[in-house]
């Protein structure tokens, strides 16, 4: 009989470390939830295209800051192939809409690389969540950056169920690579279309095509950019296709294009007066 009581006492003692450690965890969790729910930051996260680095948008951000009262910080992140993540720059204390540019060591072209970059972006995104606990954000992808975003949203974004992506703008993104006509679908486009149900339905998407000639921005055929409609239309909340022309409509000049900058200011950046905290 005595052995039984000893046994029960022993088991009760085992309860003690469980209580101590779980309490610590519960309080840390509570703290994190508090931070997350009351977070004021809503960054604009930008992904450059192939062969570009995290410095791609320096001119873009400088132009925007020159034209607006609200000065946005610029934080540059680099995802290395070995899994390391390095940061350059910083976010000012009260800055609610910083620009965060994520570059990849492997910035090569091709569907397989895009998938690798999307997987790396997921790691970077988790890291950023850990640091800043933002509960919503906006995305801009230039060229292949838009493809990385599409792959990320379809494959990895469900791992962050409480974070909301409010808007996405893809600039000169070749959804069908170099194919000018959607009669011929690349493997990537077919996969994107097949998995479109995973895209968040509350998202608002702007797809911007540049045209230097009548049907291409010098690198990407317009038909490839507009193929994005097969992915986003009727799945996300709103899908708008925009074509810009004129100076700086050449593929790599698009991020500096004045029209595009004004589109970003109008549609992507939240105006300070109407900035909403996320509350359900």
């Amino acid at each position: 009989m005595k052995n039984r009581y000893k046994l029960l006492v022993l088991l009760s003692l085992l309860l003690v470390p469980l209580v101590i450690f779980s309490r610590k965890q519960a309080q840390a969790n509570l703290h994190h939830l508090n931070q997350f729910y009351n977070a004021r930051m809503s960054p604009v996260i930008m992904l450059p295209g192939s062969s570009a680095t995290e410095n791609r948008f320096d001119q873009f951000v400088a132009k925007i800051n020159r034209q607006s009262v609200e000065k946005h910080s610029l934080l540059k992140v680099k995802a290395w192939n070995n899994g390391k993540i390095t940061y350059q720059g910083s976010i000012r204390n009260r800055d609610e809409q910083p620009f965060i540019v994520v570059g990849f060591e492997n910035n090569h072209d091709g569907y397989r690389n895009i998938l690798k970059q999307a997987a790396l972006f997921e790691k970077v995104f988790a890291d950023l969540q850990g640091k800043y606990s933002f509960n919503n954000f906006k995305g801009i992808g230039h060229s292949n950056g838009g493809l990385i975003y599409t792959a990320f949203l379809e494959k990895y974004f469900n791992q962050f169920p409480d974070v909301q992506i409010k808007k996405l703008m893809t600039i000169g993104t070749p959804y069908n690579f170099n194919e000018p006509s959607t009669k011929k679908q690349t493997q990537m486009l077919a996969n994107f279309v097949n998995n479109r149900v995973n895209l968040p339905t509350s998202l608002i998407v702007y797809s911007v095509a540049g045209t230097k000639t009548y049907d291409s921005d010098g690198l990407v055929p317009e038909g490839s950019v507009t193929a994005g409609k097969y992915i986003y239309q009727k799945q996300v909340q709103q899908f708008t296709q925009i074509t810009v022309t004129g100076e700086d409509a050449q593929h790599s000049d698009l991020p500096q294009n004045d029209e595009i900058i004004s589109l970003v200011q109008r549609y992507i950046i939240d105006p300070p007066a109407r900035f909403q905290r996320k509350g359900r």
């Binding site: 039984r4 046994l7 029960l8 088991l11 309860l15 469980l18 209580v19 450690f21 779980s22 309490r23 610590k24 965890q25 519960a26 309080q27 969790n29 509570l30 939830l33 508090n34 729910y37 009351n38 509350g279 359900r280």
Partner: protein, 404 residues
């Protein structure tokens, strides 16, 4: 009162069906025990959302979480994942044994019939693994019993071989009919490909509906209809957490009585049906070796929510001795909890907890570490143990009389 219970149970246990149930559960118990351990290790220790994993931050310093999970999942799939199938085997066999007949091919036929019944409709889904697991226990039992009855009563043919053949044929014919029945149910969207019921009855979470929900959960569990409970849903929009975080206080929460604040926090203090309280009661006073050993062995998985092993091993499943405390202790706990919340002594809990959090700690952690909740949980748990003690004594009387 317990004397009446003992008498009634002893009478029931004379019936062949009761004996079939008992011996079949006993047969699959080792499998379920192993499966419960591996399942708990997978979901609570190795999985990154698991209770042990999160509180000890295992993913940060233990490099083999993924491999551990793969190994334990593999073992779970071929133990717990096959119980319905294997139960069919044992039930068919035991149906014959209980009537003092030769089991012969009955067990194997039941397995084959189960394959036929649950097969998908194209070559790639010949073996539909999702139908062989824990939530189809009742189906395995039903088919096993039917096949057993066929072998018991169908004696067409002059030689034993022909008789076995006709019984086999009849069983597979039955399986085909049932297969078609399943196909119809799937066509009319009553169940899905994995056999989950598609109808959902949703009730707004209120005091009475939560109590009823807790009661039904216990009832379905006692009947062995595990997993069928997803049909009934308590709707609650999770407003409590949002409210608490934005107002930075736990007072005046919008929804005081919902599945989380009442059922999970209080109803599950001893696990579903208070089964962990039963185990502690057994450790305290049981004299029969079987009860004590099974109780001890199943303590670990049950503590973290894997209580199938205890309800099959003791057994509690379909056992009239334990049905009263099994159904009533959660309800009693919830009533006490409601009283504590109404009187303002304790606040409703809002924080989400990891998978596999032990029942005793649910309230404590859900409130962010309030020691008053832990104290209340321990007191309520002690009460549940006290309630179970006379029933453990009754159970020992029953097995004592049986063995005499």
């Amino acid at each position: 009162m317990t004397a009446l219970l003992v008498k009634y149970t002893l009478r029931l246990e004379q019936k062949p069906l009761a004996q079939i149930i008992k011996s079949s559960l006993q047969a699959i118990f080792p499998l379920i025990l192993l499966g419960s351990f591996t399942q708990i290790f997978s979901a609570v220790v190795f999985a990154k959302e698991g209770f042990i994993n999160t509180i000890f931050e295992l993913t940060k310093w233990f490099p083999y979480c993924q491999q551990g999970q793969q190994v334990t999942d593999l073992l779970t799939n071929f133990t717990l994942g096959l119980v319905a199938l294997l139960l069919a085997y044992f039930v068919a066999k035991n149906t014959l044994i209980v009537h003092q007949a030769e089991p012969g091919l009955a067990g194997v036929t039941a397995v084959l019939a189960y394959f036929v019944m649950t097969s998908g409709n194209n070559p790639s889904s010949l073996f539909n693994l999702r139908w062989y697991g824990v939530d189809k226990l009742w189906l395995g039992f039903l088919l096993g019993w039917l096949v057993g009855e066929i072998f018991l009563h169908l004696h067409l043919g002059k030689t034993a071989d022909i008789q076995a053949f006709t019984a086999l044929f009849a069983s597979l014919l039955l399986a085909l009919v049932l297969h078609f029945g399943i196909y119809l149910l799937q066509t009319f969207n009553v169940i899905d490909f994995d056999g989950q019921i598609l109808w959902r009855y949703s009730f707004h979470a209120q005091f009475w509906t939560v109590l009823a929900y807790g009661f039904l959960a216990g009832l379905f569990s006692w009947l062995g209809l595990i997993g069928s409970f997803k049909t009934i849903v308590l709707s609650d929009s999770g407003q409590n957490l949002t409210y608490a975080l934005t107002h930075k206080s736990y007072a005046n929460l919008p929804s005081r009585f919902n599945e989380y604040t009442l059922y999970k926090t209080y109803g599950l203090i001893g696990g579903i049906g208070g089964v962990f309280a039963l185990l502690v009661a057994i450790i305290l006073i049981a004299r029969t070796k079987k009860l004590y050993q099974v109780g001890l062995l199943t303590m670990l998985p049950t503590f973290f929510g894997g209580q199938l092993a205890s309800i099959v091993g003791l057994p509690v499943l379909l056992n009239p001795i334990f049905v009263i405390p099994y159904l009533l202790t959660p309800v009693l706990n919830m009533l006490i909890g409601a009283g504590l919340i109404s009187s303002g002594l304790l606040l409703p809990t809002v924080l989400p907890v990891s998978y596999g959090t032990p029942g005793l700690l649910l309230g404590f952690l859900g409130s962010g570490g309030d020691y008053k909740m832990l104290f209340a949980a321990l007191v309520i748990f002690a009460l549940d143990v006290a309630i179970y003690i006379p029933f453990v004594q009754a159970a020992e009387q029953v097995s004592g009389s049986e063995n005499a």
